[in-house]
């Protein structure tokens, strides 16, 4: 059972992840499963990587997004549970990061959408389906327009 004081960390032995433009792409390298999270989910992942507690993550979300403490807490607890279930994060016993200034609510908080962990369980099947390609030499009728303006 997770508590709000718990801190999580990426399961680095099995997981590769990156956040770009607020979107997190996560790969479980042990089974080739792909995941993504956008917006609030991207922030959550960055804060997990930064070693923050669930309580701190909730505070950061509430300070930046137009959402109640209660809703943010419910979403963070749900998402943390899903990430653990997928073995993407583990409980962290490392020392907490240096304490930063308390979150203050921005006056211009962004619209909130509950974060989702998007799971792509069929990626392996889809990649297996994509055919091994022939070489161009094996396409005898290759049309002459390739690479030329038509």
């Amino acid at each position: 059972m997770l508590t709000l004081q718990n801190r999580l960390r990426p399961n680095e032995a099995e997981v590769a992840a990156k956040v770009l433009d607020g979107e997190a792409i996560i790969i479980n390298l042990s089974n080739g499963m792909y995941y993504s999270m956008d917006k609030v989910g991207g922030l959550l992942w960055e804060m997990i990587e930064g070693g923050h507690s669930l309580q701190e993550i909730i505070g950061a979300i509430v300070s930046r997004y137009d959402v109640s403490d209660k809703q943010a807490q419910a979403d963070v607890e749900r998402l943390a549970g899903e990430l653990m279930q997928e073995n993407l994060v583990v409980l962290s016993h490392l020392a907490p990061p240096p304490r930063q200034n308390e979150n203050t609510q921005s006056e211009d908080r962004k619209p909130y959408e509950s974060p989702m962990l998007n799971i792509y369980r069929d990626m392996g099947d889809l990649l297996a389906l994509d055919p091994p390609m022939p070489t161009l030499q094996e396409i005898p009728w290759k049309e002459p327009t390739e690479g030329t303006p038509g």
Partner: protein, 382 residues
């Protein structure tokens, strides 16, 4: 309008969907749409930026980045796709053939928001289209889903009921070839199988059926055109059945040479054992006024009307296939009439113009709805 065609597969890869998509791209451009194609950079030396008859084609290493699970490469590809979407600023993204590359569509969906139209050209690799699958999420997030046949749409709606209110059938279409149909050769009847040489196409059943007809039609010949993994087995089967000299394996045929090839056939045979999503070869045959013997699977009964434009038989039944072929060879007047009926019906129901009209109408509807949604979301003027 600015249309981004996103396809898991595109020329020079050839299948029914790829042939259709290439024609749709050109037809959209003729209607003054700005069109680009985004497609995987396959594992061969195809250029990353090129043109198909004037339509810009951008190939990205989607499959390699995903298969390698290389997070840096994934990010780099994502950035390149995002840059292209920002620069092109499509009014609609029209995704054909949903596959692994859809992952990158989602990673760049917010870069430039545009309605998503998904066109299904075939069943996916599995029937599980749950919320935790890429194909399932793609269908659920689409603003509209079309399928190339009623059979395929029914299957998709069964698997993802959420799409029922925002989905429809748009049958594939083709232009009438410039070449006029030739009379059906009857003295030396020629049967034609055309398509990828894979088990799903059932060309082995055509060989078995043809062998059983050898005594009744000693002058008949069978042409199997196409290439694929099953070719060695089919060639061996033909030899074992004593059909050397009677069966010709023609190999790949360029799409623009297909009408001339079909013109040499008396009957076009499609013994598919898989659920053909549409069966573009049946349409190509119909446009050349050829009667068709096909299996009663998937979308084929929508293209081939039993006893009017051809004959439908149960799949995996080479005996029934042989009898249907024999009937058309023994009754040339019926065969001619069916071919002509097939051509008239194809021109009426399956023209490329009708198909593209339907897509363009849908683009307009989606753009309009997106504009209304944006207006509703905008804050009211003070």
């Amino acid at each position: 309008m600015r249309i981004l065609l996103w396809s898991e597969s595109f020329w020079p890869i050839i299948g029914g969907a790829e042939v259709l998509l290439a024609q749709v791209a050109l037809a959209l451009r003729e209607r003054n749409c700005a069109v680009i194609v985004v497609t995987p950079q396959a594992a061969l030396d195809l250029p990353s930026e090129t043109q198909y008859k004037g339509v810009p084609v951008y190939r990205f290493p989607f499959w390699m980045a995903l298969a390698d699970a290389n997070i840096d490469q994934l990010m780099e590809v994502r950035q390149r796709v995002a840059k292209l979407k920002r620069a092109f600023a499509p009014d609609v993204v029209h995704m054909h053939i949903v596959g692994a590359s859809a992952f990158f569509y989602f990673q760049t969906a917010d870069v430039h928001r545009a309605p998503l139209l998904v066109t299904l050209h075939g069943p996916g690799p599995n029937k599980d289209l749950g919320h935790d699958t890429l194909v399932g999420q793609t269908l659920r997030r689409a603003d509209w889903v079309t399928a190339c046949s009623a059979a395929l749409l029914a299957e998709a709606r069964h698997l993802v009921p959420e799409i029922i209110p925002c989905s429809s059938v748009i049958h594939n279409g083709l232009d009438v070839p410039l070449l006029n149909p030739e009379p059906l050769p009857s003295d030396t009847p020629r049967l034609l199988c055309l398509g990828r040489l894979i088990n799903d196409k059932g060309f082995d059943l055509a060989l078995t059926a043809f062998a059983s007809l050898r005594g009744r039609f000693p002058h008949a010949r069978l042409v199997i055109a196409g290439d694929g993994a099953a070719r060695p087995a089919l060639e061996q089967q033909a030899a074992e059945l004593g059909l050397n000299g009677l069966v010709h394996f023609a190999g790949w045929v360029a799409p623009d040479k297909v009408p001339a090839l079909i013109n040499t056939a008396t009957v076009v045979v499609m013994p598919s054992r898989w659920e053909e999503p549409f069966g573009l070869v049946a349409l190509e045959a119909a446009l050349m006024a050829r009667p068709i013997v096909a299996t009663d699977v998937g979308g084929l009964p929508e293209v081939v009307v039993h006893q009017q434009t051809g004959l439908l038989v149960e799949k995996e039944d080479s005996g029934a296939l042989a009898e249907a072929i024999a009937m058309l060879l023994e009754q040339p007047e019926s065969a001619i009439l069916m071919g002509q009926t097939a051509r008239h019906r194809a021109q009426k129901l399956f023209s490329l113009e009708r198909c593209v009209d339907a897509y363009v109408a849908l683009y307009r509807k989606l753009v309009q709805e997106a504009a209304h949604a944006d207006a509703a979301e905008s804050p009211a003027p003070q």
